[in-house]
């Protein structure tokens, strides 16, 4: 498992997802560790034989020893961000979204028994069928981000509800913003 994980990290070096390889302080935030340090450090430490120390241990630190339910419900958990929002008629993720998803990817990679449903939604404007397709597109963008970081497709299911299941029931900008979303729903644990 750890080996696989390293392989993925190596493949994705140089991408913003890099911090996925750092492990470390248990509450990862982008910018905590300068990116250069990680990439250089990974190679150098691996080469001079001091790599064992940080590899598995940091990964363990991040999620191990905590019940999954707590990891998914605790507001301070690195997995607390489970809803991702979008602009009108857009499926683009922000840099912050990608960082949060990187943490979810590490979690899914560390727990292959856990399954994830990506539930895509749209706001009420426009047609219902186009919005159904748009909700799927948003969920699939997240699926792709996760799978590029090693999460197996078998772990993920994409479902779109289009505009049929709004979170907010108003007919205004704020409600629309809240309804253009993808929800991460963990199952199988």
């Amino acid at each position: 498992m750890r080996l696989q994980f390293f392989a993925v990290c190596a493949m994705t070096l140089g991408v913003a997802l890099l911090q996925g390889c750092t492990g470390g302080d248990g509450n990862l935030r982008r910018g905590d560790v300068p990116v250069d340090d990680i990439s250089i450090g990974a190679d150098q430490r691996g080469a001079d034989g001091r790599g064992t120390e940080w590899g598995g241990a940091n990964l363990q630190d991040e999620f191990a020893g905590r019940p999954i339910k707590e990891l998914l419900t605790d507001q301070n958990s690195p997995l607390s961000r489970q809803v991702f929002y979008f602009e009108f008629n857009s499926a683009e993720l922000s840099a912050e979204d990608r960082d949060a998803l990187a943490t979810h990817a590490r979690f899914l990679n560390s727990r292959r028994d856990v399954a994830l449903i990506l539930e895509g939604h749209a706001d009420e404007r426009g047609s219902r069928e186009y919005n159904l397709a748009l909700g799927e597109r948003r969920a699939k963008v997240i699926e792709r981000v996760l799978s590029l970081q090693g999460v197996t497709i078998d772990q993920i299911q994409v479902i779109s509800f289009g505009e049929e299941r709004p979170d907010a029931h108003g007919h205004d900008e704020e409600s629309w913003r809240l309804n253009r979303r993808v929800k991460l729903l963990y199952t199988g644990y």
């Binding site: 008629n89 047609s127 069928e129 159904l132 397709a133 597109r137 479902i159 779109s160 007919h171």
Partner: protein, 432 residues
């Protein structure tokens, strides 16, 4: 077919939805013909209205007629013999309808009516229609059809149905109902009730079946249901989206959207063999296919060019004939197309960045007209005679249906006393 539908309506009456559709009529076309529909002294048992009111209501909603208030009528004859034409000539009304209930030779109820040209005093048409008290409204709609056709030259579409979806919160959650009602909103009958969303009902060309999208198994799947027997089958349960069903004009094929190959594409399903033919290949969203009335093309929504627009793909033997051609250019968001019965006009949801309204584009000239004045309009559907379009919109945070005459003059609204109503689909003609 019609008869069977009736039998069923009797059976289903007790199961009718609690929330009732209410109709509001506003506006009227310029040049609407003044007409007098004299009370028949024949009352519809369900609504306690004289069937002359049902006929006058039909004619008014079409936007082509301006029925006279019965209080203002100089006399209220029930037969042509009793009409004093001289008294009517001062009213400015050009045509009048008189009618009555009679006992037929076998003891059955017969509704008789006559349409007169007031100026010449000539009878233009007249019929005796055997019926039953329960079928009174239906007979009224048939009479409206005959009058409409006689005076406009266009077939009437009053004796038709509208399918739609209602959503109501029953305290425990949303309840979704697929229902059909007469085109004037009366006589609602339930087709399906679900705790999960229902979408995109569409009629088979003979009016015997509805296809729709149901989330009852947790995701979007396409079902087909016999309107009279209630028998239904699951048509599409592939990985990914199963949505946007539309029947071909011959009823043998269903166009639908599937994302089983990665992203939403248009497919044709042969309804007998269930074999699929993939019609589109793009990285964008392709959905909401609808057949041209001659079956020679499908129109669909695609954002292959960046923003969603309507495209046309010619078909030959149920296969693509050439590449899709873009049809809509005005506005950044044009989706959910539907074709007029003559195939000459395309109605769709037209977004200008702020508002989403119903527009009609003449396919030959490309001219576009915005028909609705509301902001969040959806799901346009033509009456089978092409005279009106019904669509869903939002009024005071409620989902309602509105119908507008294609000339834009007359509006009618169908709303629930509680909850939302959406996704209207006007039925085809159900009888010759």
């Amino acid at each position: 077919m019609l008869l069977r539908l009736f039998l069923l309506s009797g059976l289903l009456l007790s199961a009718a939805a609690q929330a009732k559709l209410e109709i509001t009529v506003s506006g009227g076309s310029e040049g609407a013909l003044p007409i007098a529909v004299v009370p028949f002294a024949l009352v519809d048992g369900e609504t306690k209205t004289d069937i002359a009111d049902v006929i006058a209501g039909d004619l008014q909603r079409s936007g082509s007629f301006k029925p006279m208030d019965s209080q203002r009528m100089p006399q209220q004859p029930q037969s042509g013999r009793d009409i004093n034409f001289a008294a009517w000539r001062d009213t400015g009304v050009k045509h009048m309808v008189v009618g009555r209930g009679q006992m037929g030779p076998g003891g059955e109820l017969v509704v008789e009516f006559q349409l007169f040209d007031i100026f010449s005093g000539r009878q233009l048409t007249g019929y005796s229609i055997p019926t039953t008290p329960e079928r009174m409204r239906r007979v009224a709609h048939q009479i409206s059809d005959i009058i409409y056709e006689k005076l406009t030259g266009q077939r009437g579409a009053f004796n038709t149905y509208v399918a739609y979806v209602t959503v109501e919160d029953d305290g425990k959650g949303s309840v979704y109902r697929l229902a059909i009602a007469d085109a004037d909103g009366f006589n609602e009958q339930l087709i399906l009730t679900s705790m999960q969303p229902l979408m995109s009902p569409t009629w088979s060309p003979d009016g015997s079946k509805l296809a729709y999208v149901s989330f009852e198994k947790g995701r979007s799947l396409v079902f087909m249901q016999d309107v009279t027997s209630g028998e239904r089958s699951l048509l599409a349960e592939f990985k990914g989206l199963n949505s946007a069903p539309r029947f071909s004009p011959d009823g043998r094929t269903l166009a639908l959207t599937l994302s089983r190959d990665g992203n939403p594409e248009i497919y044709l399903m042969d309804l007998r063999s269930r074999n699929l033919t993939r019609l589109t290949h793009s990285h964008g969203i392709d959905t909401e296919a609808v057949f041209a009335p001659d079956g020679g093309a499908v129109f669909f929504t695609s954002d292959r060019g960046g923003k969603p627009q309507i495209y046309r793909l010619a078909l030959k033997n149920s296969r693509p004939d050439g590449r899709p051609q873009r049809v809509t250019y005005e506005g950044r968001y044009n989706v959910r197309a539907t074709l007029s019965p003559d195939g000459k006009q395309l109605a769709f949801v037209h977004g200008d960045g702020k508002r989403f309204r119903i527009a009609v584009q003449d396919l030959a000239s490309g001219n576009l007209r915005v028909l609705s004045s509301t902001s969040y309009d959806e799901s346009p559907s033509f009456a089978p005679n092409g005279s009106m379009i019904i669509y869903a919109t939002d009024r005071n945070n409620r989902g309602v249906l509105e119908a507008v005459s294609v000339d834009g003059g007359a509006h009618q609204r169908l709303g629930l006393n509680r909850g939302d109503v959406r996704e209207p689909a006007w039925s085809p003609y159900l009888s010759k």
